[in-house]
């Protein structure tokens, strides 16, 4: 299967790869929200982290790591780009369909975009829970 130019670009030059600490550290950091979604046996695991500026409430930095195919890597790389500069609630507005469109994902790869949306939601929910902010909507299930 041929990948789109944008998928290849994100795959070859992934943006914002990394972590704001070890698993233990990021669990404890209140300014960091972590979303870990997918499962190794499904062939996709995404870890998305957001770092929120307390004063402005904006996502000042985002990082990802991904075990998955090229489209999964590109979807999570793109998600970190889109999250930066948004407030957490603005982050929730990112839809998987926008990722599909931006990366020209074929139908068999739509689940990669769904997983990226899940990761965004999970990271934001984690941040809110850590900071005692009530979640406005239930976590996305599929």
């Amino acid at each position: 299967m041929a990948y789109s130019t944008k998928v290849v670009d994100h795959y070859e030059n992934p943006r914002n790869v990394g972590s704001f600490g070890t698993q233990k550290e990021i669990k404890e950091r209140k300014d960091v929200g972590v979303g870990l979604v997918g499962a190794p046996e499904c062939g996709d695991v995404m870890q998305l982290q957001i770092k929120v500026d307390e004063a402005t409430g904006k996502i000042e930095d985002a990082k990802f790591k991904c075990f998955g195919c090229g489209s999964a890597i590109a979807s999570s790389s793109l998600a970190t780009e889109w999250l930066k500069g948004r407030t957490v609630d603005e982050g929730l507005a990112i839809k998987n369909t926008e990722i599909v469109e931006e990366l020209s994902l074929p139908p068999v790869k739509i689940h990669c975009s769904v997983l990226a949306e899940d990761a965004i939601r999970a990271a934001i929910a984690d941040y809110k829970t850590k900071n005692g902010i009530e979640a406005k909507e239930p976590a996305h299930a599929h």
Partner: protein, 412 residues
Amino acid sequence: MSLKLPIYFDHAATTPCDPRVVEAMLPYFTEVYGNPGSRNHSFGWAGEAAVDTARDQVSNLIGADRKEVVFTSGATESNNLAIKGGAQMYAKKPAGSTGRGHVITATHEHKATLDPCKRLQKEGFDVTFLEPGRDGIITAEMVKNAMRDDTILVSLLWANNEIGTINEVPEIGALCHDRGVIFHVDGTQWVGKMPTDVNAAQIDLMSFSAHKMYGPKGVGGLYVRRRRPRVRLTALAEGGGQERGFRSGTLNVTGIVGLGKAAELASQEMTKDADRLRKLRDRIETTVTEKLDTVQINGHREKRLPHMTNISFGFVEGESLMMACKDIAMSSGSACTSASLEPSYVLKALGVGDDLAHSSLRLSLGRWTTEEEVHYATNKIIESVEKLRVLSPLYDMHNEGIDITKIEWAAH
């Protein structure tokens, strides 16, 4: 020698045609085009002579009598003819009834065996799907334990197409002949690569394909034993009665000539090829296991084909690994493109975890594989695994001492 990219390491999927095979085939497109079924003129006789030569070349390769070779369109058709045609012929009860007979195969067979067997289940036959051990091998003991009074057919691969492991074919052949059970072997990956003697291995039916042994696509054959026992089959394709009535249809003379030539070359070159490729394959395995941690070679280490390897690189997904090595053609047990998200059922049958099945690559080398290609590909794979592990959250967890099998992953 200069390295030419991309590199082809997918010879278990198909092989290039040997130029000597193509040369042998060429006259049969435009000059010698008679139908071997035309018994009344020289054009037909020339076609028949060409087919006879090919039949000799093929029967020499497998230790059979020339009359025991039935030409088909390839191993999938041969498997269908052997399994469905065999079961129909040896059924204990007529169509429409249940309990028509028992068939033994294995869970990690090729789909061209599994699907005909599933068809038999719908048509009143019982089928046992044997589960291999972790080494991927089906032993005579496993077959023996599954045998019943009404067992009519055993159908197994000689060597598995994903991991190259070799089943205990001669031992199973002896067992089947003891019990009067027909033994079908899918020799697609084996024939032309490894020494084959249908009598020594006591095989009754054996499928093979030209395009896996440097011949053309679209042609293959089924060995059908004529003596002790004389095996009968219900034909699937009926018509002109060609190939002793087992397979009607005008013979693909050009393709058959190609298969014959490929078989002749295989007889002469397989030992040399196998020795050379085993060394190259071993070098790949030694280097990747030296340079990378958490690497697993799937299937029995010795009892497998010398020219292929199936390796799982922990914490790296196979499809993204192939994308990183885009100038190397390989296969992966990852099924990221399939709707089911299910990884290789062959690796699962061996008890390889789903995560490691998603992380697997199959590399299969061939007659023209060079040392330079092996060197380049090995380095490229190592470099790509390292790159992807930087990206892998699972590798981080592994390094932090977290057992990823203990995490409650959300299924999706």
